[in-house]
């Protein structure tokens, strides 16, 4: 958080300033939509390693960070990419190979954990997962938890309702708050002070943003400060939560950004193909992440025609009739 007014930065600087080796990071978006991909690629380019990543249902961003070896620990509810990869491929390989440690929660639990962090309370209750292995099995050992002040001692706590029977509830599960060192989200509009407007579904981005010690926002459109304040009902995140505003058009590509562009089925299929093989994955990284050096260069590499095909139809917010086979 930063109460000041001008937070505009270049992406390279924002990532170098706020994402450090070992940082506890969360990224916004959901599977194939509004992932902060420009920031993800910049983290990969800067070779920042040993990150502890928090996501709920993340697909592309999470999988690329794992694929590039940036992640050592992961707390997650769902690692999938819709029809493009029912389980994310580099995620699957890393878990099976034991190269990352994983703690499993549900989508609602991860969202409540961010909400608790944003509210400044240590936990929130839910009835989700009672009787299941989400409660019984821990991915992070007790010892590992005790050894880290940045991780709570317990994964989850089952708890009798102290308001006996109130709300027809006998038991709840308490989920511990998350306060990431840094959250990165991609939004449609932000102003120079950091006020943010998300169009379409917000997923858990607002909670992830407000739970974080530092917040980096990448945006499609950088607005003057007065512009967003004119219809402030549509602003979900006030500027005081934000540390850096980075203007990155197409910053969610190859995932979608509602009202701006669709996900790129060709890229996502190409990615899935490459992800299946380690050598091919290295070739993918070289060609699409390391060589372009900036997100703009990646977009240029795709070509204007390819990008034009993804442009959102203003009525529906997505690319109607896009070839998605």
């Amino acid at each position: 958080m930063n109460v000041g007014q001008n937070k505009v930065m270049e992406l390279k600087e924002a990532i170098a300033t706020f994402v450090k080796p070992g940082s506890h990071l969360s990224i916004g978006g959901f599977t194939i939509n509004r992932n902060p991909m420009a920031a993800v690629y910049e983290i990969i380019r800067q070779k920042i390693k040993n990150l502890h990543l928090y996501v709920h249902s993340n697909g592309q961003g999470m999988d690329e960070l794992i694929g590039a070896g940036c992640i050592s620990k992961l707390e997650i509810a769902y690692g999938g990419n819709g029809k493009f990869a029912s389980t994310c491929i580099r995620f699957k390989k890393a878990v099976q190979a034991g190269t990352i440690e994983v703690e499993d929660y549900t989508n609602y639990q991860m969202t409540l954990r961010f909400l608790a962090g944003s509210m400044g309370i240590p936990f929130l209750p839910t009835r989700s997962s009672l009787g299941t292995d989400i409660i019984n099995r821990w991915g992070f050992s007790k010892e590992m938890r005790k050894g880290s002040p940045k991780i709570p001692d317990e994964k989850l706590i089952e708890f009798e309702n102290p308001f006996t029977g109130w709300c027809d509830t006998q038991k709840v599960v308490l989920v511990p708050a998350i306060n990431p060192d840094v959250t990165i989200i991609h939004v449609q509009k932000a102003d120079r002070s950091g006020n943010c407007r998300i169009e379409g579904l917000t997923f858990a981005d607002v909670e992830q943003a407000k739970a974080a010690k530092h917040l980096v926002v990448t945006c499609e459109t950088l607005c003057d400060n007065d512009e967003l304040k004119k219809e402030s009902n549509q602003n979900q995140i006030p500027f005081i939560h934000v540390d850096a505003v980075v203007h990155v058009p197409n910053g969610a590509f190859p995932t979608a950004c509602y009202m701006h562009y669709d996900y790129d089925p060709q890229y996502l299929h190409m990615y899935a193909d490459h992800a299946k093989d380690d050598d091919m994955y290295q070739a993918y990284l070289d060609r699409y992440v390391y060589t372009p050096q900036t997100h703009g260069a990646l977009v240029e590499l795709m070509g204007a025609d390819a990008m034009a095909r993804l442009a959102a139809d203003p009525r529906t917010g997505y690319a109607a009739n896009l070839d998605r086979s």
Partner: protein
Amino acid sequence: MEYTLKEMMTIVAARQIQDLDIVFCGTGISMLAAMAAKKINAPESVIFFETGAIDSRLEEIPMAVADSRVMFHTSSNGGLLDAFATMQNKITGDHVIGILGAAQIDKFGNLNSTVIGDYDHPKTRFSGSGGGCDVASFVPKSLIFMQQERRKFVKKLDYLTSPGYLDGPDGRTNAGLSRGGPMMVITNMGTMGFDDTTKEMYLSGYYPGITPEQILEKMEFSVDVSRAGEVAPPTAEELRILREECDPQGLIL
């Protein structure tokens, strides 16, 4: 009229949805079943997604529950907090029907969508719960899509991701969950229900050309087949709507 098993599964699920049901949808066939129900037999059902979209106008099939296509012409575009609260809050949650899938199921309808093998050193890792465990915990009834395979209908799950009836009739109540639980399993060969008293799975239907015995062969545990009857195939009109109005691009079917 010719039809595929996927079409059969979709129509069987769609028939379970009624007017005024709020339908929780996942990706793929579950979304298609909800779309088909709305166009065929339950025009006043409401589709909603864990991502926060409710009553979307689905002019094209979404490829994920976060697809921008679910954000168009909704009643509101909220987020995950809104969606799951709609299910956990019994005032609205009691009207929700969930549609789920999994890698493994046991006789009490518990689901595994996390790992095959040892949790700490898994042979196969799947996507994980996502909202599946939340939905299964909260809603009074759900439909489960499964492929009919021995390694999927197992005596013991490798990991219990989403609660069915847990260990039997009092399982959910003892665990602190609301009543409810799965109502039907829909496979590529037939349908299973859960006995009102024992909460154990039984065969309720088999598709034309399939026998109960063939289904039992594709399960690690056996179930009662005495209540099973042949499931009516999709009608020409059901198929027309499904193919022409729901998935004209053939993205799911």
